[in-house]
């Protein structure tokens, strides 16, 4: 049946990449240069050229992904190959260096490449772990369903509290008005909640609606009689509202995590290209 990018075509590219690693490693071990192993031996040149070609091809995924009409093969297949050959690149490039590191442009290129690769590892992990978690979290509902429920609850609360006294009404309305969902990119990723509440004329933090819920519970001890039934109904619904908000926030957080690593992966790819051009320039012009 259908398969994920990791098991695409029965893991064909995994085996190809493994083969590539084996061949490069064997060559490295068997190779006996007159000088210490480095990029300048025939094997060093071969591995270097191969690495360069691989990097260009890996980066080309950015184009293939967007070449919807004429792109060759499926993106799933491309990503599968990208992931496995990207990992193989780590070995190929390391062998190319012959483990000669220093504070120079050559090592900078290598480090950038490693960062791109490691961010890629995180990406694979995020792609495999978060989607099922998001699905579990929402129990087959869509994010739109959750927002609709929230809207419904908000209007229920407004209606209920319109009959209550000023203080309860103030808590409920200001908590609804000052609920923040999303926020900046960092807020989303950390699941940070900047919701506020107006209590006795001053704006206070209302993270995870806790303060509002506490204040409502406090009111319950104050209010008696018929009014208290209404208040306990408000508290109950407010609790449900908190749960929905938590779910939405968590969902947004995970959605952010699924994509945030690309913000490292892609810019560093550009940086890697710059560093590699400098590296090649240094090697061939100043050697």
């Amino acid at each position: 049946m259908h398969s994920s990018f990791l098991s695409h075509a029965n893991g064909r590219y995994f085996w190809f990449a493994l083969g590539l690693i084996t061949v490069s490693a064997s060559a490295y071990i068997l190779h006996d240069p007159k000088q210490p192993p480095n990029g300048g031996t025939w094997l060093g040149y071969t591995l270097g050229s191969l690495g360069l070609f691989m990097i260009v091809w890996l980066a080309y995924l950015g184009r293939r992904k967007r070449n919807f009409a004429k792109g060759w093969g499926t993106v799933r297949g491309w990503v599968s190959a990208h992931v496995y050959f990207g990992t193989a690149l780590l070995i190929v490039a390391t062998l190319h260096t012959g483990f000669q590191f220093d504070f120079n442009i050559h090592t900078l290129a290598f480090v950038l490449m490693c960062l791109v690769i490691f961010s890629g590892f995180f990406g694979v992990w995020a792609y495999r772990v978060y989607p099922p978690e998001r699905n579990q979290l929402k129990k087959s509902q869509s994010i739109n369903d959750l927002f609709l429920q929230l809207e419904e609850i908000d209007s229920q609360l407004t209606r209920l509290s319109s009959g209550s006294d000023n203080e309860v009404r103030g808590i409920v309305n200001s908590a609804i008005e000052r609920t923040v969902i999303g926020g900046g990119y960092l807020d989303q990723l950390l699941g940070r909640d900047n919701s506020k509440l107006v209590l006795q004329g001053s704006v206070v933090d209302n993270t995870e609606q806790q303060r509002a819920l506490d204040s409502l519970l406090e009111q319950m001890t104050r209010i008696q009689g018929l009014e208290s039934t209404r208040l306990s109904e408000i508290v109950r619904i407010f609790g449900a509202r908190k749960r929905i908000l938590d779910t939405i926030r968590e969902d947004i957080r995970m959605h952010g995590l699924i994509q945030v690593w690309l913000l490292v992966h892609i810019p560093l790819t550009f940086a890697l290209f710059a560093a590699m051009i400098a590296h090649l320039f240094a090697v061939f012009v100043y050697w």
């Binding site: 990018f5 695409h8 009409a69 869509s142 994010i143 699924i258």
Partner: protein, 800 residues
């Protein structure tokens, strides 16, 4: 006044009636044109404002004294009005015809309100729109009660009550609620008839109090206003007693009364009860009532130009002139390559005489059928269609013969007058045989829609097709080695059964004495596990169910239910035994199928989750799908590249909505076309712009779409959008390096001037993309997949 006898009374001032009346006026014939609404062409008046009206079919010449070419609704209407004045047409508005009595030369036309008009001939051109159902309460003729809404923005700050619970009522309510205080009166306590999108909109609006809904409420009467600022008081019967609503306006959206009842009361006969049946007419548009002629949409011609041409021609016919119909040249061109030296009418006659299925079809209908059909000369050896093609047209042999390859090296020769291709026509499934031209032959290919129209209106055609279908199915599926003659006794006893969606065909534990062959639709097989009905498998058309009970002589081991409207052929035990005898290999083949099914069932029985998932998929109407986009939520990273890819390959408008639609376990059903077996969208498309074909059997919409929105209304899954043309140029490198141009997949409006219309767009399964569906190809993780229902069993088997 009562003494005046008109030569021709034309009823209905639609395009057909207008053209007829103008031509009569032009020729100086004593005539009258009767129109029930206050203006001409009520159907066209109801199009949305500024609609660009198309003049399809483009190849058909116009023949009418009044003008018509593609253009804005307003221009066309004013052109027609000018035409009426110019020719001095005797037109009477607000004149609804209620009865017709008498006979040719002396018809008596009764107008609502009592007046009577006499005429020698009648031309009936009242279209198919019917009249809106009125509120039917005292006072419903007040000026502020209306049954149509042209421009919701024309009303501001009014109190408006809308009566009705269908899509039209909801759409009006939502649009009006922007600037008015709106209530909606719903007889029931839910909006059961509404599409899902509209349902969400209205429930949202009711929740947020922007629209008030009165459930379980019916109108009682309309009283004068209690205070000057309102137009009237709407009195309603609510579950909690009578309510009085002061209103400025009442809008009734209760649907229309189809005109058939009225037409029958005039004495015109319909061939059967089918909702799509059209009255039988002669080639001169005359009905069974002598002197009463039927033109336009009512006669089965759904486009404006056709109606206008007929208006012209019918007047000529009444006057006894033999004009050639406007489509004469089209037919002549169609027949040009044929090896006959005959004129158009002679060729048509020859066809009807040589091909028995078409014998009973009236001349007019047959002419229309041939206009829609392809007549072609096939050279010996040419492939007419191949096994597994997803075409579903119907073929007849006019001359020569064809070889039908029903199985490897089993050829059946079919000669002049015979037909083939009826299997796919009926089942909506792929071709089950390959057909070659046995010698140079002439075949007629008739599109599915045209054939279905014919089957609906001529019972004889239906009968012949059904009988042939039965015999050929039995031969192909059960007894390929037996001769047709041997199978006739079995065929005679075979019954065609019809089932509604969800209806049980047979249930677990029953004594089983018949086998069902599914000829269209599909079924689920379910079994009772721990008191719960668990779906175990899905069986599509062209397969048999219930064979187990017959082979093994056991009680039914499972319940079989229709997933959608389904037809089966049932074969009883006695016939089945006869088949076993006639076809030695049958028993072994059947046993293999049974074994495979048992194995499937065991896997599914041990896993209730997968059964529930299968039930969910069927519940989404996927039983009638042939190819559907599903998303595995455990893999989807919500990048929306599927949508971008769709947009990029389809002029910038994505035809799928990933976020919309339900999810069960980890399977999400996005809003996207499923390429139904029997597509509801195709049923009522005036220019026949929706086609099915290609190797994938995709349902797609052609450029001749006139933007009427019927398909959008008819698709039960809300996947068709009405959209202006956009384009999506690929400017990746410019975008990447210089930020110039749009991100790939983004829509750019193209300004094609005044004449652009919103046309229907939907998934075409990427028929023009060499690599296959772009959505699936663009998905980086493998979450997006396209499946046919047969593959669902494999899908649900690996529920994790």
């Amino acid at each position: 006044m009562a003494s005046e006898i008109f030569d021709i009374a034309i009823i209905g001032a639609g395009p057909g009636g207008l053209s007829a009346a103008s031509h009569a006026a032009e020729l100086g014939v004593n005539h009258v044109l009767l129109e029930s609404s206050p203006k001409i062409a009520n159907t066209i008046q109801k199009y949305q404002k500024g609609k660009h009206v198309m003049a399809e079919p483009g190849v058909l010449p116009l023949r009418s004294p009044i003008r018509f070419s593609a253009g804005k609704r307003e221009e066309i209407l004013s052109g027609w009005e000018d035409g009426l004045t110019e020719h001095n047409v005797n037109v009477r508005y607000n004149t609804e015809v209620a009865t017709i009595g008498g006979q040719k030369g002396d018809f008596l036309i009764g107008i609502s309100g009592g007046e009577q008009i006499q005429a020698k001939h009648i031309i009936l051109g009242i279209g198919l729109q019917g009249n809106p159902r009125t509120l039917g309460v005292p006072g419903d003729n007040a000026a502020f009660v209306q049954y149509q809404l042209d421009d919701p923005d024309a009303y501001k700050d009014e109190s408006i009550v809308i009566v009705g619970a269908g899509d039209a009522a909801i759409e009006n309510a939502i649009a009006l609620a922007r600037h008015n205080s709106v209530s909606i009166v719903n007889r029931k306590d839910e909006f059961a008839r509404a599409k899902e999108g509209n349902l969400n909109l209205i429930l949202g609006a009711i929740d947020s109090k922007s629209i008030e809904c009165l459930y379980g409420t019916t109108p009682a009467r309309i009283d004068p206003p209690s205070d000057e600022t309102f137009a009237g008081t709407f009195v309603l019967d609510t579950p909690s007693g009578e309510a009085q609503l002061p209103v400025h306006r009442i809008i009734g959206r209760l649907g229309a009364i189809a005109p058939r009842g009225l037409v029958e009361s005039f004495g015109i006969e319909f061939p059967n009860d089918d909702a799509n049946a059209i009255p039988a007419l002669t080639s001169q548009y005359e009905s069974n009532v002598e002197g009463m002629f039927v033109i336009g949409a009512l006669g089965g011609y759904p486009l404006i130009k056709q109606a206008m041409n007929q208006g012209y021609e019918v007047v000529e016919y009444i006057l006894g002139n033999k004009v050639k119909p406007a489509d004469h040249d089209l037919l002549a061109a169609k027949f040009k390559t044929l090896p006959f030296d005959l004129d158009v009418d002679e060729v048509l006659a020859l066809m009807q005489q040589r091909i028995p299925v078409f014998n009973g079809v009236n001349a007019l209908q047959f002419r229309e059928l041939i206009l829609d059909s392809e007549v072609s000369l096939q050279r010996k050896g040419a492939v007419v269609f191949a096994r597994n093609d997803y075409t579903n047209s119907f073929y007849t042999v006019l001359q020569g013969s064809v070889d039908i390859e029903v199985a490897a090296d089993t050829l059946i020769n079919s000669g002049q007058g015979n037909f083939f291709g009826e299997m796919s026509l009926i089942s909506g499934r792929r071709r089950s045989a390959t057909v070659y031209a046995a010698d140079d032959c002439v075949v007629i290919e008739t599109p599915r829609r045209t054939m279905n129209k014919l089957i609906a209106s001529v019972d004889a055609v239906r009968k012949v097709l059904d009988q042939t279908f039965i015999v050929r199915t039995i031969q192909q599926k059960f007894a390929p080695d037996a001769s047709i003659e041997d199978l006739l006794p079995v065929a005679e006893k075979t019954v065609i059964n019809q089932y509604a969606p969800g209806q049980v065909i047979f249930s677990e534990g029953e004594e089983g004495d018949t086998l069902h062959f599914i000829r269209n639709g599909s079924v689920t097989v379910s079994s009772n596990v721990d008191g719960k009905d668990l779906v175990m498998s899905y069986v599509p058309a062209n397969q048999a169910v219930g064979e187990m009970a017959l082979l093994a002589n056991v009680k039914r081991t499972a319940t079989v239910r229709a997933t959608v409207k389904t037809e089966t052929l049932s074969i009883d035990k006695e016939s089945f035994d006869l088949l076993l005898e006639k076809s030695p290999g049958l028993k072994a083949r059947m046993q293999k199928i049974v074994e495979e099914r048992m194995r499937q069932n065991i896997v599914l029985q041990t896993n209730t989750d997968s059964g529930e998932l299968l039930s969910f998929l069927m519940g989404q109407g996927l039983g009638e799908a042939t190819d559907v986009l599903l998303i595995d939520e455990e893999l989807c990273v919500a990048c929306d590249y599927c949508e971008s890819a769709c947009a990029a390959t389809h002029e910038g408008t994505s035809r799928l909505d990933r976020k919309a639609g339900p999810t069960f376990a980890h399977i999400h059903v996005p809003t996207s076309c499923r390429h139904c077996e029997d597509p509801s969208c195709m049923k009522d498309c005036p220019p026949d712009a929706i086609q099915r074909g290609g190797i994938g059997g995709e349902v797609f919409i052609g450029d001749n779409c006139i933007g009427c929105g019927n398909c959008e209304q008819n698709c039960p899954y809300g996947v068709i959008q009405m959209s202006y043309k956009t384009s999506a140029p690929d400017s990746f490198w410019r975008w990447l390096f210089f930020g110039i141009g749009d991100k790939p997949g983004k829509a750019v409006n193209i300004n094609a001037g005044e004449n652009t219309i919103k046309q229907a767009v939907k998934c075409d399964m990427c028929k023009d993309q060499s690599g296959g569906p772009a959505c699936v190809r663009a998905c980086p993780t493998g979450a997006a997949m396209r499946l046919s229902p047969e593959e669902f069993v494999d899908l649900v088997r690996d529920v994790r």
